[in-house]
Amino acid sequence: MRFFNVLLLICVLQLSACGLESKHENKHGNSHQPIHFALSQAPLSLDPRVATDAASERVIRLIYQPLVDFDQHFKPSPKLATWQMLSATEYLITLKSPRAAFHNQLPLNATDVKATYDAITQLANSPLSAEYANIQNIVVHDQDRLTFHLKQPDPHFVAKLIIGIMPKPLLEQQHDFARYPVGSGPLAFVEKNNKLILRRVADGQIIALSEVKDPTVRVLKLLRGETDLLQGELPAELVKYLQTKSEVTVKTSVGMNYSYLGLNTQDPVLSKLKVRQAIAHAIDRPALIEKVMVNHTRIAGAILPPEHYAGNASLAAYDYNPALAQQLLREAGVSLPLKLVYKTSTDAQRVRIATILQAQMRPAGIALEIRSLDWGTFFEDVQHGNFQLYGLTWVGIKTPEIYAKAFNTNSVPPNGFNRGRFSDMKLDSLLAKEDWQGATQRIHEQLPYIPLWYEGQFAVLNKKISNYAPKPDGNWDDLATISAYAD
């Protein structure tokens, strides 16, 4: 009996603890409820030199400050600094004043900028080393000014000055930025255990980011009040369900992340333009968007959206026309049904889209075999050209250089992202001239990619949350301004 009493007491204490919400007191002595943000994937590294995953990049934007950001037309705009092009290979950078110090109270100056960019080229495991290999040297003039000297002219160099600046003394000490980041951005790192805890510098507001893999569980946590905010990564039916719930607000916006089908143009069948056109006409994009995508998803024409300064709004979408697709396949000398293998990841939404594509292509005489592979295997196959068709999304692309990297004859991996081994002299010439209108038109005609859509962005908030809206590239910049009302 005594044992059961003790057990009961433990249960009561545990249950009462359940209702307790930890509060963090800020430097102003005010107490804020932490704002909880549930993510499908936690950031892997908080070091700007090595991070490549979307979650890490989005958090890094908040912890560190870059020299340059992008305006609404995706042109470089001053963030921490302004710039002046002295010659084709020289850029003078002037840091703005006053500017925020690092979170460890050290002032940020030109030597930190130099140390950051030098560190990228010196780090063995930095995926960015090649991107910045064109920097010959960096000369610091004073606390506010420095000059980047390039080996070769690069008209897009300013758009590359987006790396978060790190403090030189810590770089010299080989500080572990991946786990203990120190930047000068609006959010400062507090701790990382099973959650990543950040503190807003301006008012001490605590923001807790936790990984919750399962989309249904993320929704349940939001409805239970355990999380205050979700963004993206939910199937359309769950978003529609949440739109019916009065206790949450669903905010949507257009997106700019480009989804496409990649084709292996060295494949004997897919090397024929008419076959590629047939596949483009065998997909009913509007139906797919309506059924499995969120609001504001737009049919895509090119990698960069029409509002981009290098965008092309005149590209007409390929309509769904199975009869025309069959005719094109026959004209290409293909015997029907044409059997193609489509590779995708194991992500449930990706597999669902693949299944719908399979059904849509059947009346066009295309028998699509779906192979769903774990990410490592799938991506290695894509990089090595071991595919006929695959589905992927370009996330956060801002500069038109992507066209050369994805389609230039010389950009086959590891020299670029031309995974489909596409080769077209006319396109190469247009890309060399940076004729973006001509290049995007040519890509649209030649179809090394079958364009699908720019997925709409959305965020779901508790009623107590305000000052947060989804952004076209899916960034989380509004965490710098988000506010929560007390319950």
Binding site: P127, F379, F417
Partner: protein, 304 residues
Amino acid sequence: MGIIQRLTSLFIVIFGVLLLTFLLIHLVPGDPVDVMLGESANMADRAALRADLGLNQPLIQQFGHYVAKLMQGDFGQSIHTQTPIVELIKARYPATVKLALLSLLIGIVIGVPLGVFAALKAGHWQDFVVTIVSVRLSAMPAFWLGPVLMLIFAVWLGWLPVSGMDTGTSIILPAITLGFGLSAILTRMTRTSLLEVLNDDYIRTARAKGLSERTVILRHALRAALLPIITIVGLQMGSLLAGTVITETIFSWDGIGRLLVESIEKRDYPVTQACVLIVALSYVLVNLLTDILYRLADPRVRHA
């Protein structure tokens, strides 16, 4: 089998697991260098990183280095986060053990009494109901049962947290999710095992001696029926300690199962190897413990 023989076989098993894991993970497509550097890195950077990670050495040499470091208690570092693997294991394994023990407890507390009850009521409607319930429970996958429990106990009733590890009560729902499945297996095993024993001569003798039914069941029948139950409990405990990936993922429970899957996705070879080693060790040790319990439960095994 003597203790020395047991330990020898344990080492052989562990070495076999190490070798097999090492070879398999290197045969699987996907390269940690690709994952870390992406597509745009040039060949020189790739080669430099490959050399830095020791991946340019022959496989047998890599394996030799790995085993040599392991002998000194050094699991190495995560390729991706550069975190010492011992730290990762220390952070994750206790959570898995905690969840496994509570799940097992729930399974035993529900399963064994229900099994005894069903055996005693064999052929009656109560037996039928227990059988139906246990079949239903064993047929419920964690990815379905977990969210249903969350919906009922967290969202509707508001008694427990949906997921995470923030409070002491966070463990209840994942433990129930795992424990229900286990209890169903134990119910059926206990029922079957007890029914076999209840027809034996010595049970009839015990009853003829005038012992109470409670004494006959608890002291004579159940003890004899324990052997297959111990086997099942041992095997299930081994599985639970291996990390129940789906349950840990659904409930955001930072255990060894999730760590293993994440490391496989990222081709973080040293972490995968360490996780598999820990899982294998757990399995072997639990089996050893099961054998010891066998001896305690059944004198025939002890004297064999």
